[in-house]
Symmetry: C2
Subunit: 250 residues, 2 copies
DNA sequence: TGGATACTGATTGTATACATCTTTGGTCGC
DNA sequence: GCGACCAAAGATGTATACAATCAGTATCCA
């Protein structure tokens, strides 16, 4: 009951969507649980109309599932669902990289990506990375992947990548924070950064197949991160998305 | 003002969605045109609430685009957008086929697909195929592709394929009807059917790479169909989706 | 005692009224 | 004559009231 009268700039629908998403990812709403609209109205402080709009959008986003008899429930994911979602994103990013390579990109277009990589270099340079560095990495990594999707110059492909990355555990840096405390963490980021450089090199030299393959492999690093985080059981609190996993975290 | 009181079994939202989709695909609503909610209310005969719900769903479907200042407009597609969407679907179906091959499927699971192919064989056997045969082919072909997506046993992948195929010009048999009058048509269907057989063979023998590659190539038949239909300019009336193409059909 | 049916409560789907914002047309000023 | 500003009309975003459907429970009959 804090920010009941939050800033008027964003629509009520967006506010409800953000609030409900937080509730889902934080685990306040359990997988399989039916979402009561009236309850959501009380929680979010907006009326039923924007709440319903938000529910529809969250369903399209993949966090909710429509109940045949009406209404929505929180979707449950298996560990394999998550791994598949990561492979899916890798496949789509691979397609984007291949398009970029085949169609050619100007040095001017590559500029922001290289700049992004240089900034990442600075972040991952100190050997025990700080938590803030990990956090900054997440932002820069997301930026790099977004720029890469644009590089395909294909609106349909970029759109599909966005939708595939919408699920928090499928996003490019979904499991980075989880292992910020592990010693292997920095090593994995160094490898990831190498992938970044390779894909740009492949695109520059118009090697479509190579660009595609490296992006697929790159996504599999996320899967490795996930397994690492689950096995070590450390800092799982940094992964709100895991509240959605069914029978993986018991 | 005919079916104002259509059957009560479907919700008003679905009815509005179907009606609006028809209006868009038939070209009654031009690309770039803002969709007036009140006008949609008059056209569809339902009230504003379900109309707005339908608009949100059609946006997620990819047929509409949100206007920053509010409301929606009909999306415009370039010819390249369409070709990219086809390649996108092929890539996703390739992933599904690879998953099916790698994970293995039981003969029991393959049964309905083989049955489907046998039915298609009967349809494309007579040399001058009838228009009804083409129409039946569209249905069976859609069924085969849906079954193949299921075969991946990956809900996220199947879901993404559904969404990629939602755009009419990206769907598996999007451009089949357009060339039902052309002599090359049957030949292309014979090749497509060969692809179908090959992918099942690859899956049966757990050849993931082969299964993936053939599905990618298979999708490119749709691109070939599109070019063929556009060049011949025959039966373009059978392609309502072309109303969305910007600057390709002038 | 078990099962089926009817009833009641609650929840979702729909319609409409209201407020705010955008857009468009006209007029005034430069 | 052109541009900017203001006003009015229409559009969308929001809230709420109503209707219909679904789930749960209790009772009645076999």
């Amino acid at each position: 009951m804090a920010e009941r009268e939050a800033d008027r700039s964003v629509s009520q629908t967006v506010r409800a969507q953000l609030a409900l998403r937080d509730l889902i990812l934080s685990g306040s709403l359990r997988p399989g649980e039916r979402i009561s609209e009236l309850q959501a109205v009380e929680t979010t402080g907006v009326s039923r109309t924007p709440v319903r709009m938000a529910l529809v959008r969250l369903e399209e986003e993949g966090l909710l599932e429509a109940i045949p008899s009406g209404g929505f429930m929180v979707k449950a994911f298996s560990e394999r669902d998550i791994l598949d979602s990561i492979e899916l994103r890798g496949t789509l990013e691979g397609l984007a990289a291949r398009f970029a390579a085949e169609r050619g990109v100007s040095p001017r277009d590559l500029e922001p990506l290289k700049e992004c990589l240089n900034e990442i270099d600075v972040l991952i340079s100190p050997d025990p990375m700080s938590v803030e560095a990990f956090s900054a990495y997440v932002a820069l990594n997301g930026r790099f992947h977004a720029l890469l999707a644009e590089l395909s110059r294909s609106a349909p492909v970029a759109r599909q990548i966005d939708r595939a990355s919408a699920l928090p555990f499928a996003s490019p840096s979904g499991f980075v924070m989880a292992q910020s405390a592990l010693p292997e963490a920095r090593q994995i980021l160094l490898i990831a950064q190498d992938h970044h450089r390779i894909v740009l090199d492949a695109i520059e030299n118009r090697e479509g197949g190579r660009a595609e393959a490296i992006m697929r492999e790159h996504a599999r690093l996320a899967a490795r991160n996930l397994r690492l985080a689950l096995r070590n059981r450390t800092r799982l609190d940094l992964l709100p998305a895991l509240a959605l996993i069914r029978s993986a975290v018991d």
